[in-house]
Subunit: 197 residues, 2 copies
DNA sequence: CATTTTACGATGCGGGTGCATTGTAATCGC
DNA sequence: GCGATTACAATGCACCCGCATCGTAAAATG
């Protein structure tokens, strides 16, 4: 075996370049040549690490998901279900430059999932996990007496998730400020929880 | 002046073809040639009625918005604020083939608005109108004693809108059935309103 | 009837696309 | 040292893109 290189590191290098382009100019602007240029490598190298453009796009998304997932996991030591839910949701919203960038990319992939089957499959698999997680927290809060017992954790979780997703675009195009977004989330949590802890 | 033709009818013919392609294969699949073929006309004719592709895309969107707007207006004679809000929101969700198609197109345009300024402008203008409408209904319901007086109509309207928007993708990729979607909306309205009328 | 204006249809151009092919330098096992 | 394998770089190909250009048929106007 020749020329020892870190295969995964190269793939991440390329995927990062792709995500920068997607954030800046949209998924439409992502081409093999553009990605190669952004990463500062040759087009041949991009092709060497990804057989097709679709594979590259999928890998970049898993890369992005992993990045976000780590941050959410970092909030898991929150002192209460409410604090954790708040942190987890705000992590998905475009409140600063980093998350704004991620939201732009995420929205592009979301739209693409409508016509790209493998992408839809991935989201279909991820959704129950995320919503289930929210539901679990709400259920835990109910047992702690922090949420009314007669609320449906499953549906409340769906509403929480969909509200967050729906907030993305109004925030991105500037209709809602970061403060508006945070206030809306807190307002909703105030209605869901009995205590502010 | 020669050859009497209905200018607007031709533009609608072309825009309808564009929307069919966008619904079927996404906005990426929309090209002058493809639109011309779908409409059964020559590419020269498409160019005759739209100077640029962007103008064509924008016109098609206003066409779509008008179509949806008419349906929402048709629900305005609902017997109560709650009934109207329910109808207006369900009108935006992919509960049948027609609205499923519209949702697919709408999501594609929504994602595009992140990188297309004129599109973002259009949405930025439309948002206050839609949300304001919801807020008005909630305020009216408060005066009728059908909604708790200490709720914020503006924020409740934002949550209502964002929840609806967030429901679109899970519904489109099949994570939520049409029944799930309707049940989620009704659940949320049950929490918002004091009466089920 | 002539002129002008509109409504197209056909074609071409420069540029970008994903992907295949080819060549080559480097490093391993032997 | 040597064949084999890996890691690229360079180039080419067939196709598609938006848009401009050119030609022409038809109808209203004088």
């Amino acid at each position: 075996m020749p020329k020892i290189v870190d295969h995964e590191a190269r793939r991440r290098l390329i995927a990062d370049a792709l995500l920068r382009i997607a954030s800046r100019d949209g998924l439409d602007a992502v081409s093999l040549r553009e990605v190669a240029a952004e990463a500062g490598v040759s087009m041949g190298m991009v092709q060497h690490y990804f057989a097709t453009k679709d594979q590259m796009l999928m890998f970049a998304l898993t890369q992005l998901n992993a990045r976000i997932g780590e941050r959410v996991a970092g909030a898991m030591d929150a002192p209460s279900p409410r604090a954790f839910l708040r942190a987890a949701i705000l992590e998905l919203l475009p409140l600063d430059d980093e998350r704004r960038s991620e939201s732009r990319i995420g929205l592009a992939y979301l739209a693409r999932s409508v016509v790209a089957d493998e992408l839809a499959d991935l989201l279909r698999q991820a959704l129950p996990y995320v919503i289930g997680f929210y539901a679990e927290q709400i259920r835990a809060a109910q047992e702690l007496g922090q949420v009314h017992a007669d609320l449906d954790p499953r549906i409340e979780a769906v509403i929480l998730y969909t509200m967050a997703q729906g907030l993305v675009n109004p925030a991105l195009i500037g209709h809602l400020s970061p403060e508006d977004v945070a206030a809306t989330v807190d307002y909703h949590l105030d209605r869901l929880f009995l205590t502010s802890g």
